[in-house]
């Protein structure tokens, strides 16, 4: 006897979602709930005691300039992320037009994203050495005045690190933009061409509105990536004070200063901030429309 489609549907929904949702709950929501619990304790990370401290950890975060101030070090990643999207969109538009050597350019620009993240960090560590490859290159291009001790100069180092992130990830954004551009029907372009609309106007009035959702997705990824920057400073500078992002500080609080409770509260604050920034950004870019 065959099952009705209605019953099939219910079975399928449950059957198809149960494993993925179980994974989601086990490895994301359950740990997140634990994190919330720890954030109200002064647990040291090892002890069997979890002394309850109420909101103390949260008030500490907002009153200790050392803790909250480390968001300043995330700022360069944030700006870098915005530039990354502009660059990615620019190249995506170029590569979606008729162009000689299109697939070669496309493949090469995507290349950095394919490289192992640790390898990329090491390559740039080498490049940024004082008097290293980058400085030598600038010198030989007659741009010697731009030479710097890229890692050693506290006002430059975070921009140098943010650039690594831009270099590594813009290819990913570019490919996503490319996909979106290709899905804009050819007829729209043609119609615009017949109207005699200029290049810029075509882009702004025909293409941009169609890209809104995808720009949002890309920004969402880069913004949350910027606020949670960790790997690049961790590998390249060992998270030294001038490069300690909020998340690096969180890990220090947990494992150098043995205050897992406070670190958990910092993680929750970070989560909320990312959420707020994303919401604001959605209002600005997306006109209030939901992404998914």
């Amino acid at each position: 006897m065959k099952m009705s489609y209605r019953m099939q549907k219910n079975l399928l929904i449950v059957g198809f979602l149960i494993v993925p949702l179980a994974l989601l709950v086990t490895f994301s929501f359950y740990p997140a709930i634990k994190l919330i619990y720890y954030s109200f304790t002064s647990w040291d990370g090892l002890s069997q005691q979890y002394p309850w401290v109420g909101w103390t950890n949260y008030t500490t975060i907002f009153t200790d300039p050392q803790l909250f101030g480390s968001f300043l070090h995330n700022f360069s990643y944030f700006i870098g992320g915005l530039i990354q999207n502009v660059v990615a969109l620019y190249f995506a538009v170029l590569l979606s037009s008729k162009l000689k050597g299109r697939s070669f350019f496309r493949a090469t620009l995507f290349l950095p994203y394919m490289l192992n993240a640790v390898a990329v960090a090491f390559i740039f560590k080498f490049l940024y050495l004082d008097g290293g490859a980058l400085d030598t290159l600038l010198q030989s291009l007659g741009l010697g005045f731009l030479q710097h001790d890229w890692i050693g100069n506290d006002s430059i180092v975070n921009w140098a690190l943010a650039f690594v992130s831009l270099w590594e990830f813009f290819g990913f954004n570019m490919v996503i933009y490319l996909a979106a551009l290709q899905s804009i029907p050819e007829e729209l372009h043609e119609a615009a061409a017949l109207d005699g609309a200029g290049r810029f106007r075509t882009f702004w009035y025909i293409i941009m509105p169609n890209l809104r959702a995808i720009i949002q997705i890309n920004l969402l990824l880069t913004v949350s990536g910027a606020l949670e920057a960790f790997n690049i400073p961790f590998v390249m500078t060992n998270g030294s004070p001038p490069t300690a992002t909020f998340l690096i500080n969180t890990m220090n609080v947990a494992f150098t200063f043995n205050n897992y409770g406070l670190a958990s509260a910092m993680a929750i604050v970070l989560l909320v901030i990312v959420f707020l920034v994303i919401t604001v950004q959605q209002r600005l870019v997306g006109g209030g429309k939901d992404v998914v």
């Binding site: 990370g45 090892l46 002890s47 050495l129 004070p241 890990m251």
Partner: protein, 419 residues
Amino acid sequence: MKKWMGPLSAVGVSAAMLVGSLASAQAADMNKAVTGTITVLTNRTDMQANGMLNTYSKEFEKLYPGTTVKWQTFVDNNTVQAQMNGGVYPDVMLILPSVTKEELPQFFAPLDNLGLDGKVYFGNYQSYQGKTYGIASFGDTNGIVYNVAAFKKAGIKGVPRTLNEFYADCAMLKKAGIVPIALNYTDKWPLGNWSNSLPDLIAKNANYMNTMANENAPFSAKSPEGESLLIARTLVQKGFVEHDFKNTNWANSKVQLAKGKFGMMFLGNWAIPQIVADGTPSSNVGFFPFPATNSGKNIAIIGPDWFFAVNKNSKHIATAEAFVKWELLDSGFADYAGGIPTIKTQKSHVPQLAVFEKLASAVIPGVPDSDTLTKIENGAQLDITGGGAVQSFLIARNPASAFAQMNQAWASARMMVGK
């Protein structure tokens, strides 16, 4: 005793003499249970790379057939601490600095049955309620490791005895095109000596750091702690450190020191063999007490390196214990590492240490940090032990306001701890 004879002949006579004096009936019983696979935590990535760890496993496995020794290399506190929380950590452990005394029994098996009580240095460092949970892998004393040829090239005769002489020698090295002293800023831990070891030397008191717990403002130009930080800062300001000092690490610096491109580093005696291994004769590496003051009398303090411990949840506690004992008594690790053996009857074979001891006005034993001090440091979020505080101080715009900030954090942390 007879049971021991078989395996002992394999390791040689000197080991036999050492173990002979320590072996007991208890140890012979332990031998029976020594079997199975154990994992050993190590911080020596260099010994992983050069195959020494592998040699150790093979020697131990030969001595105790049926055992297998695996290594886990230490990455950061963080990963090991997560393992400890989960209850799945290596059988032979290194005690993390974050483990408090009360937490020792929660994670480790007491080592009093090894028959080493009273026969090792630093026996009281990792003990709780009368039981010992950790034995130091070897002892260290911190001083200036230097390249002898570089000193000669710079025209320096004899090692500096006072702080002023030290600065003068730095200037001479710099003039000779040699980086006077390497800080290894990026690694962070090498900076710990400037905040955690130098103050004791200035105060000529091994217990000085602990007295900071009683003060509300221990950071000032007049306090030993503040003076130490200022010495490090002076070196930076006079250009006596690596020109790109914020992008430097120990693995690179030791090669440069071996080559004579760097003159000095403020580290423990353990650094000596590693520098020698990078291609310079042992006679070219010297070691002298830090000329911490202008008094001309410089003391040295001997403290423990990492502590070995045994996982109390280990399936093969006996094997893990045997390994700890073997590593302390017979492996030659202390010598290989250039350390002072923990076993009181063993002597150090590092030639530089004998010279060092003669240069020191006194060599005194270290004192462990009190739990109160650690709690205040953590509460104030000042990484004095690990070097993070030095990192921040070196790049602070204004030392006076940096001191003020540190004192403020310190005072409020003291209040929280209830001191």
